[in-house]
């Protein structure tokens, strides 16, 4: 985990209507981020009320949640809430912790366009693995490898190809790339996380350089010569 992230006081909002899961997640988060301000909600409406004032760095959410108190939980509610949040807060980081992550394929275009971190964690995962996904989301990374349907056809957008060509064939730094592509530096970072997700290149504990891994993988699949 990034040392800087541990030192900063993180603000994390967790939504899950299953109390035991909620407590389990909170317990793990408090162990990992002892200084963090962690709040919880159990319905979509409560989350929408809390979000503007709390301004979290990360939302950890279940998909199967009720819209209001007393209503039944439905995955449609979580999917719609996530879609709304990604459109209203395009740079907010998300970790989706769900027992049926396949449902996310319904909003694939919205996930592709999202500029903040976005990681998925199936509820079968260990606490350690879940915390790793949460950390990646806080770093602004994208991780959708477990959603095989999201990766089908190795869909590469033209902007991502241009990024690879400028970075590895013209050997430009991100700032130069941003100027050449007429986009912000943040957008360049966003393109990096998306292309790395499609190429299945993620930070590993061996601390290998992720850009070098990206270049090697891009050459392997023929995206660059």
């Amino acid at each position: 985990m990034s040392h800087n992230l541990q030192q900063e006081k993180q603000k994390i909002l967790v939504i899950d209507d299953h109390e035991t899961v909620l407590y389990g997640t909170i317990y793990a988060l408090k162990q990992q981020y002892p200084e963090a301000d962690i709040r919880t909600t159990q319905t979509a409406q409560q989350l929408l009320e809390q979000l503007p004032s709390f301004k979290p760095d990360l939302v950890v959410m279940d998909l199967s949640i009720p819209d209001k108190v007393g209503e039944h939980d439905k995955s449609d509610v979580g999917i719609q809430l996530l879609k709304t949040l990604m459109q209203q807060y395009p740079t907010l980081n998300f970790t989706v912790q769900s027992s049926y992550i396949k449902a996310l394929v319904r909003i694939k275009p919205t996930i592709d366009a999202h500029q903040g971190g976005f990681t998925v964690a199936d509820k079968s995962l260990s606490t350690k693995e879940m915390l790793k996904r949460i950390d990646w989301a806080l770093q602004g990374l994208t991780y959708t490898k477990d959603l095989k349907a999201m990766q089908s056809g190795l869909e590469i957008k033209q902007d991502w190809l241009t990024l690879l060509q400028l970075a590895f064939e013209e050997e430009l730094q991100d700032q130069e790339i941003a100027k050449r592509m007429l986009v912000s530096a943040r957008t360049v970072r966003h393109y990096w996380t998306k292309v790395q997700d499609v190429l299945e290149v993620y930070p590993d504990e061996g601390k290998r350089n992720i850009r070098i891994q990206t270049e090697r993988r891009a050459r392997e699949v023929g995206l660059i010569d």
Binding site: H18, T20, V21, Y23, G24, T25, Y27, A28, Q31, S64, D73, K74, S75, S99, Y100, K102, V105, R106, K123, S124, S126, T127, K148, A149, S152, G153, E155
Partner: protein, 241 residues
Amino acid sequence: MTFIEQNFIFLLIYFISVLWLVASYLKSQKALQWWSYGQSLKLADEAEQIRDSLLQESCCMRRSIERSIAEKPGAFAETSSDWIHSVEFLHHSLAHLGDRLSPPYVEHSLPLAIEFLIQSWQAKNTQLKIATQLPELWRDELPSHSIIVLQILDELLRTLSVKNLTKISLEISLIPLQYELKELIIRISYPDVQSLCFCSQLPELKYLKQTFRFLTAGQCFCRRTKLTETLYFRWRSLKRN
């Protein structure tokens, strides 16, 4: 009564009988389509309950065990990994059960649902060679026909697998045709004439074709060239509102 009058009455009875049979066929077809889709919805509800209840409970169990281990690592040293494995096994079994009751992606995208189904079959039967040609984009349609198409394909794969026809190879294509017609093409290549004769005469294949025609009001036909048999399943898709 004259001969012409008698003939007229016979003809009238004949036409009324034909009309009655056609009406009866269409009524039975509607009733069975309703029944089939209703059963699929019930199974989807069961799958939803598994995902929203039992899988959540198994997650709670796992988190509780992991918390106990973290708080008192020495106390559960011998049994902790067994517990975690048991919970993992339970979770994955329930998740697979949910996927069998309600096939993933079928409500959203038939190509994705077919891809998932084929991957599941190939994981179980590594010898079965299946190539696919599935479109990335699929027009939004009501899932009632998609579920039947998927069930037909699943049953076909099961039949071929049960009959131990592992030396055959399959090519599965999904094609959107004109006028909202959709077509699933399954090309089966046999290693020899004996396999071709054995497989093409399987009663299960005939039942599958009839079931498809009846439940989707679609067409199913077959073409054979040398050692290859191609099944065409064609139906008219219903658009969502």
